[in-house]
Amino acid sequence: MGKTLFDKIWDSHVVVSKPGFPDAVYINTHFIHEVTSPQAFDGLRKRGIPVFRTAKTRATADHNVPTIDQHLPIKEALSRKQVEMLTTNTAEFGVELYGLGHPYQGIVHVIGPELGITLPGMTIVCGDSHTSTHGAFGAIAFGIGTSEVEQVLATQCILQYRPKRMKIEVNGKLKKGVVSKDIILYIISKISASGATGYFVEYAGEAIRSLSMEARMTICNMSIEMGARGGLIAPDETTFEYIKGREFAPKGADWDKALGYWKTLYTDADANFDVVLTFDAADIEPMITYGTNPGMGIGVTQHIPSLDSLDEKEKPSFKKSLEYMGLEAGSELLGKKVDYVFIGSCTNSRIEDLRMVADFVKGKKKADDVVVWIVPGSKQVEAQAKKEGIDKIFEEAGFNLRQPGCSACLGMNEDKVPAGMYCISTSNRNFEGRQGPNARTFLASPLSAAAAAITGKVTDVRELV
């Protein structure tokens, strides 16, 4: 019987597999950042051991960094200390750092792909759940805790049980105004925030295949929001075209050899999945979330579920969620006033996202009482946007183009949405307090967020494109 793409990669990375023990899996690339690494380095110090393979770990500062005046010292003392500690830890242990001010600095899941570090067939981990992003290249990539970060630093391996495999097929073509973010929000709304827990997902089907690499990253990025260990997409010409010529990608004879291997990375026709789900792209409309987990999403023209449509057991959590959001069961979101628009995060802060927004807003102005933050995913994205004049378009629209970092996705820096305010956000989580204490989040695509920025309310972008 044939193998799934996941199993091909996993099997080629198992160092030791013993009955009753989790597999010791070799890790090709390990990304670290300032928030989940200090305690891991501390652990190494306590054990008196070095980083085992320094060249296989790369560091950047993203979660905590300010998105204005990055050339100045970080004002907030605790954030500053964490970022400084990343600098001293990486220097002490010999790990490459793309810190603040470095031309490669940015959100860890944006810089890995754009630098050609992320490659098909790799195993990739990072102390961040959105590591699943890198799966878009046909890699096994997943988020880990700090104890596991220490494991990988110490041994370049991680102990893991092999997850089950799920295939999610999205067939057909997307309708106008519907983009990759809508696909993943739609899938999560159908299978819930825990619908893929215990599984590694492979995305397939015409609608996935026809996406660009950056759009594929958006899909894989949010795999964790349905509980999946990770999500991947078989590499193809789109993938190879994207990687070729990037800074750390293989070159010359190495490229040819790697390409030969990458072309073997697909799921065999007779391979088995534990679960197969199929969706039709034509059923998907622009999506928006109304609740406090990413599974609580609806098409923008639909109504929030009514209480009688729910199981008795689901009601308390549902009510708590709507109370937090200040919304009524059964009501519609269309036309709801928004206060903030956040376009950024490892889900949607790449150059294509910024281009999509710029194309839409060109010649338009933001609504008067809306604050719009655009936070590019990396220094390179920022530079490219300026090169293309996208910064001018944003400026004319009244948008605030900031500097790279995780920013208002999780509000670890100053970029917090004030209590009670509504933010339409291209990020990945609408949890209570995620964007700031008592902030209220609507997750949506960059296009839907841009539409809301112009109208000042939740808008069906299809009416404007």
């Binding site: 160092v15 030791v16 009753g20 023990f21 989790p22 010791a24 070799y26 690339t29 928030v35 200090p38 305690q39 501390d42 652990g43 054990r47 085992f52 979660h63 905590n64 605790l78 954030s79 200390k81 964490q82 500690m85 067939g121 102390g127 961040d128 759940s129 590591t131 988020g143 880990i144 805790g145 700090t146 104890s147 596991e148 220490e150 494991q151 110490a154 041994t155 370049q156 391996c157 102990l159 997850p163 925030a193 825990s194 827990t197 215990g198 509980g227 260990r229 987990n293 057991k313 959590s317 708590k320 509000g411 670890m412 209590a419 989580r429 949890f431 209570e432 307090g433 995620r434 008592n438």
Partner: protein, 199 residues
């Protein structure tokens, strides 16, 4: 956090909410510490305290009738961010066991790596636990890791739970994954030497 676990008899703290994410367990703004200590004081911060730091009276951790070393929560506990700080906060607060009818994967690993035992029970058994505590907040639960059993003392009702044998041995004996992986050094080097690509 004590580094091994075998047996525990304790009252429990109930939070009958589903999909409790790690941002609720420990909000991002409290992730700035560079050690593993002290996260317990911000456990469930925004459910537990008003913005002026006054305790919220209706939250269970502020109700003195509920205490103990066991946390009982609704299904899909620990979803969201991979932050191990969530497990540190739970451990630092004094919980040794978390019971739910479903756990997010990364949280489960993080808990086990910190010698906190996540016990997954059926929805029905979880309901029984919640109603036992509702009836009597002093109701005790008994956890026996060796036998993989969880008992509601008052009713004698018992559920078996799964845990993989490796992690069970780690918890009982107090060793961690790094001890095991470091012992595989030779195998790791042999694997590296046999790899076709240097990535």
């Amino acid at each position: 956090m004590s580094k091994n676990f075998q047996h525990l008899v304790s009252t429990a703290v109930p939070i009958a909410i589903e999909n409790i994410d790690t941002d609720q367990i420990i909000p991002a703004r409290f992730l700035k510490a560079t050690t593993r200590d002290g996260f317990g004081e911000n456990l469930f911060r925004d459910w537990r305290f008003e913005s002026n730091n006054e305790p919220k009276k209706d939250f269970v951790l502020n109700n003195p009738i509920y205490k103990g070393e066991i946390l009982v929560a609704g299904k899909n506990f620990g979803c969201g961010s991979s932050r191990e700080h969530a497990a540190w906060a739970i451990g630092d607060y004094g919980f040794k066991v978390v019971i739910s009818s479903f756990f997010a994967d990364i949280f489960k690993n993080n808990a086990l790596n910190n010698f906190i035992l996540p016990i997954q029970v059926t929805d029905e058994f979880l309901d029984k636990i919640f109603s036992a505590i509702e009836k009597d907040p002093a109701a005790k639960l008994e956890v026996d890791l060796e036998k993989q059993s969880l008992k509601i003392t008052a009713t004698g009702e018992e559920a078996k739970f799964d845990i993989n044998p490796y992690k069970k041995a780690c918890l009982i004996n107090g060793y961690d994954d790094i001890d095991y992986l470091l012992s595989l050094r030779k195998e790791i080097e042999t694997y590296e030497a046999g790899r076709e690509f240097n990535f």
